[in-house]
Amino acid sequence: MSIFVFKRKPEKEVMNLLKRHISLSIEGIKVFKEYIENKNENLLNTIIKLEKEGDKIRRKLIFNLYSAFLPSMRRELNYAIELLDEVLDSVRHGALVYELMEFEIEENIKEKAFLILDISSNMLINLKSLLEVFEEGGDFEKPMKDIKIGEEKIDDIYHEIYKYMVNIKIDSFWKGKLICDFIDRITAISDYIEDVADEFQIIYIR
């Protein structure tokens, strides 16, 4: 329960927009997974649309931020917003790289890519929990720890993929480059989520 009778609207709006952006990212990852399964142009368009919507929210967030929080919190929040937007950017870039892959991806790599995306999606859910702790209080450590564990798992999977890839036969330079770019893009998602969480932690500790 709030210790104040009156809640300030600008801060609440920023929080809601942040949550909306995270929901879009979760939605983006879900559609991306469907796109990897079934290369349908409509799905790619949905991802692009989601990214554009995320960009609109980012601009609104930056604009609202300066009428909301105290300056001591704005620097970290501003940076967190920019990093969060990179999540949807990475999803879109990953999908665009996948579009260029006119060959069938190895089943082992595909499975691991799904695993990375599932863990990233869970990390985003935990990021949302951190925002709820900002608003309502509660345990900050647990979701923060889960995000860190998620990132470590993805790092391990990333290395496993590369260990596997160095032993497979690649027909052309572009095939190898596209697979590498695809893997790099989907693993970058969790890096950005972890960085956003780190910014939230600075705000929380202060």
Partner: protein, 295 residues
Amino acid sequence: MIYINILALLAGFYIAFVIGANDAANALGTSFGARILPYKRLTILFGFFVLSGTLIAYRVGNTMHLLTNGNPIPPLLIAGIIITIITYKGLPISTHQVIVCALVGLNFSSADLKLFSKIVGSWIVSPILSGAIAFILYRTLESLRIPVLERERLLRYGLLLSGGIVAFNLGANDLPTALGSVTNNTNMFLIGGFFLWMGALILGREVSKTVGREIIELSLLGAFVAQLSTGIAVFIFTNFGMPVSTTQAIIGGVVGVGLTKGIKTANWNTLKKIMLGWILAPACALVIGYMLFKF
């Protein structure tokens, strides 16, 4: 005689103006640095609290009046010069101590030394009390694990309140320290409060800006707790009619907050220098005053 009183009052009003320019940052620095309100609007709030404080200024004024019954003009002039130098050089020395010691030194034969020793005791206890309050308050607030948004709101309104209490103390304690030896009239304190307010409005902005910028780099919650503890500690002493320094109390508050993170967090070398200043400045004022009194 009337000219002497007018001259003494003018010296007192000048000191009030300088206190406003210098010590307004103790009240406004945090809110200004956190950009809660523009400086001019903050000074309106500041003025309201300062003038409210003058309504109980007679308590400290009475102590200052009882301290000596000699000529208040030389000590006020000396104090005015010293305070101007302190403000110009930006030294963390208490104006209170300089005024009181110059007053006692120059009127040594008529000074109530028992009361003076009580005042000196208050100078020692007030930063310790402020530090203790800050330590307990900060620990309590930390243990409450206030959500970030709640904390943000607490700071937004709390900084205005704590700044207001400090401003109230400037009117109730700092001002009668400067004017109490000349008059104990509430109307005069109100006029003095106006001068203090003008000092903050005309010259206080830059000091508040510097203090605010430094505070923003630190924890805002810590700054709020230090300021609130200072306000409470000085208010307690004001009620007992003891002239104590806001500057000293605020340093006690900052140290109190710092000690919650462990004894090593405090910069003891800087603290030693500040404390040396607290001993040397009043001692110099007392000795110079006494020597002038002898000759």
